[in-house]
């Protein structure tokens, strides 16, 4: 049996409005199947849109911004700053004498501001008890679905510079 069949000779209105009650069941099922197929097309278009966005969106260039002077942050101390724009709040933590990490302060769950808990040595979101690792920003516990975007830091002498964002 061929998959594609030539169109019915009957006009559409005769097919859709049959005088036989048994035929009405076919009409509703056929319409519903058509609707489901269109919904499937919508999902496919959504996937294609994500693909196009990932292929054709250029990675934004990040500015180099001075974040802090090394002497101003004690070990296990934090500094808040904004990067790459004034609306993107970030948190930098000095984890040891020579180690510094910085993350976006926006929780990946519902965008509450995370803070550093020195007691638990992790980043905490107070809204829904989300916990992130200080080491790499990964989710330790709670509802956040993704790790925190990490700010790339570079040290130039006594200055710490933010030069990029990883993830997010």
């Amino acid at each position: 049996m061929p998959l594609f069949r030539s169109r019915s000779k009957e006009p559409l209105w005769k097919e859709e409005f049959s005088v036989f009650t048994s035929d009405e069941r076919y009409v509703t099922r056929r319409q519903f199947t058509k609707f489901l197929t269109l919904a499937s097309l919508g999902m496919f278009v959504g996937n294609l849109w994500i693909l196009a966005k990932s292929r054709f969106t250029k990675t934004p260039g990040f500015p180099t911004v001075e974040v802090a002077d090394i002497s101003e942050i004690p070990v296990r101390g934090v500094k808040l700053f904004t990067y790459p724009t004034a609306q993107d709040h970030c948190i930098m933590i000095r984890t040891s004498e020579e180690e510094y990490v910085a993350y976006s302060q926006k929780c990946t769950h519902l965008s509450c501001a995370v803070y550093y808990s020195a007691k638990n040595d992790c980043l905490e979101c107070p809204c829904h008890q989300g916990f992130f690792s200080v080491k790499d920003g990964s989710v330790l516990q709670g509802p956040p679905p993704r790790p925190l975007p990490q700010i790339t830091l570079e040290r130039h002498g006594a200055k710490l510079l933010a030069v990029g964002v990883k993830g997010g």
Binding site: L3, E15, R29, R30, T33, S40, M43, G46, N47, R146
Partner: protein
């Protein structure tokens, strides 16, 4: 006015119902795939986007094929 129902008409309805159930299952998988792809992409991993789009296209092709199947069974049942 009621047309006497024949056994092959009933069989046609069963076939259409089965095809519809299969389309619904495929659609649920496709919805999950879209949400998972979006989640992965927003997490910064673009590697899964292309395979997901291909798989979604295959599912859509399956739905189109089932749609044609439903149409064909419907036309066959009406002709008899």
């Amino acid at each position: 006015m009621a047309k006497p129902e024949r056994s092959n008409q009933r069989r046609g309805l069963v076939a259409i119902d089965s095809a519809m159930a299969l389309i619904v299952i495929l659609l649920i998988v496709q919805i999950w795939l879209l949400s998972a792809t979006l989640e992965t992409y927003l997490a910064g991993h673009a590697g899964a986007v292309l395979p997901a789009a291909i798989f979604s296209g295959l599912i859509f092709s399956g739905c189109v094929a089932l749609n044609f199947f439903v149409k064909r069974v419907d036309e066959d049942s009406r002709r008899q």
